[in-house]
């Protein structure tokens, strides 16, 4: 299949409301493509919703730990979900009783009308371990924070998006930021913690703009449904539904 380029006309960006994440514990996780987590408790207030990003940790599966996946529903069991984008079929790991699936308030997403977003990822440095025999020897340094992210938009206090980001800067709570690419291309997901905001007030040309900087609390990940045809995962209305300001 020939690779194709897609335009950004369907890009939608969502930010969670900063409420404490719900950490669900599964009773089991299967070895499958995609992996299925069953017996989840507690569930997010909204219940499980199709496409909700979920962060896996301490599952016992290296393929899952510290990665984002999308929620796939089990129509017969509301406490069971598939981790879309995962594959544990040939995993050497095994389910751990301390497994956690973290839902970052993504049942209360705020749509953001951004003009730009950009990543500034940290690149691990090296630590010199030189000796007289090998003075130039070095080892990779332990990876630090993933980096930062900047997002920009236009000031509009009547819209719900700008106040949401400003609140995120003020309270500094971790939030899920999801960038849905559209065209069935999945989404870029990360947890961010906003640290600052600046404003640009042009004299004449252009609109009054803002730029917010956030520390990445998780590495940005691109997740998509690798088991479905492109058409099957296309959606005009992202899940959850966008805010009124976006309409």
């Amino acid at each position: 299949m020939t690779a194709e380029a897609y335009d950004s006309s369907q890009v939608r960006i969502f930010l969670s409301d900063g409420s404490d994440p719900v950490i669900a514990t599964p009773a089991a996780i299967s070895k499958a493509h995609p992996a299925v987590a069953s017996g989840l408790a507690p569930l997010p207030p909204s219940g499980l919703q199709l496409g909700m990003p979920v962060y896996a940790q301490q599952t016992g599966f290296p393929e899952l730990d510290n990665h984002f996946f999308l929620t796939g529903l089990d129509e017969e069991d509301e406490t069971s979900m598939s981790l879309i984008g995962s594959d544990t079929t040939d995993s050497e790991g095994a389910y751990s009783a301390g497994a956690e699936l973290v839902f970052y308030g993504n049942y209360a997403l705020q749509s953001l009308c951004l003009s730009t977003f950009a990543y500034n990822l940290e690149t691990p440095g090296t630590v010199s371990v030189g000796t007289y025999c090998n003075p130039k020897a070095s080892l990779p340094a332990t990876a630090g924070a993933p980096g930062t992210m900047t997002i920009s938009g236009y000031i509009d206090v009547q819209d719900s998006a700008y106040p949401a980001v400003y609140q995120a800067v003020k309270d500094g709570k971790p939030r899920l930021l999801s960038i849905m690419l559209g065209h069935g291309q999945g989404e870029l997901v990360q947890v961010v913690q906003f640290s600052s905001m600046t404003w640009d007030i042009p004299m004449g040309d252009g609109g009054m703009a803002w730029t917010a900087t956030a520390n990445l609390k998780t590495s940005p990940e691109h997740v998509w449904d690798d088991t479905a045809a492109v058409e099957a995962v296309q959606s005009d209305a992202p899940v959850p539904a966008p805010s009124e300001a976006f309409a």
């Binding site: 950004s8 006309s9 890009v11 939608r12 960006i13 749509s111 009308c113 951004l114 003009s115 938009g153 236009y154 004449g204 040309d205 252009g206 609109g207 976006f246």
Partner: protein
């Protein structure tokens, strides 16, 4: 070509100035007024403002004052006063903003019309959602 919203709003604003306004876009007029004004939309470009289909249109129109001549600088004074008045206009929805206006240039139309004209370029921006 400028958006209909821009054209409509500018016409509306011009109609409230001291010199009589006559629309000449796609309209043939023969005003009896000794001096009058009109606008000519010169150029416009539009670009995406954000990922939510907001648009930024930026363009220029000419505010043109025409007279039969022999009016000394009085017509320029009147034209400048009207231009200054126009630049104070505020769009209620804050979507259209007149940014800057250049000084008037004058030129004479030696053809059949034989109007003496003063023209000032006005830059605008129009932020809107599609």
């Amino acid at each position: 070509m400028s958006s209909l919203y821009v054209r409509s709003r500018v016409r509306e604003w011009c109609a409230a100035l001291s010199l009589p306004f006559h629309d000449t876009v796609n309209t043939e007029v023969s005003p009896a007024d000794p001096a009058w004004l009109t606008v000519q939309f010169i150029n416009a470009q539009s670009s995406a403002l954000d990922f939510c289909r907001s648009k930024w249109e930026r363009g220029t129109f000419d505010l043109i004052v025409l007279t039969k001549g022999n009016t000394s600088d009085a017509i320029l004074a009147q034209a400048e006063a009207d231009l200054a008045q126009l630049m104070t206009r505020q769009d209620p929805g804050a979507r259209l903003c007149l940014i800057t206006a250049g000084p008037f240039e004058d030129f004479f139309q030696p053809a059949s019309a034989r109007w003496f004209a003063l023209s000032a370029a006005v830059d605008y921006q129009y932020l809107h959602h599609t």
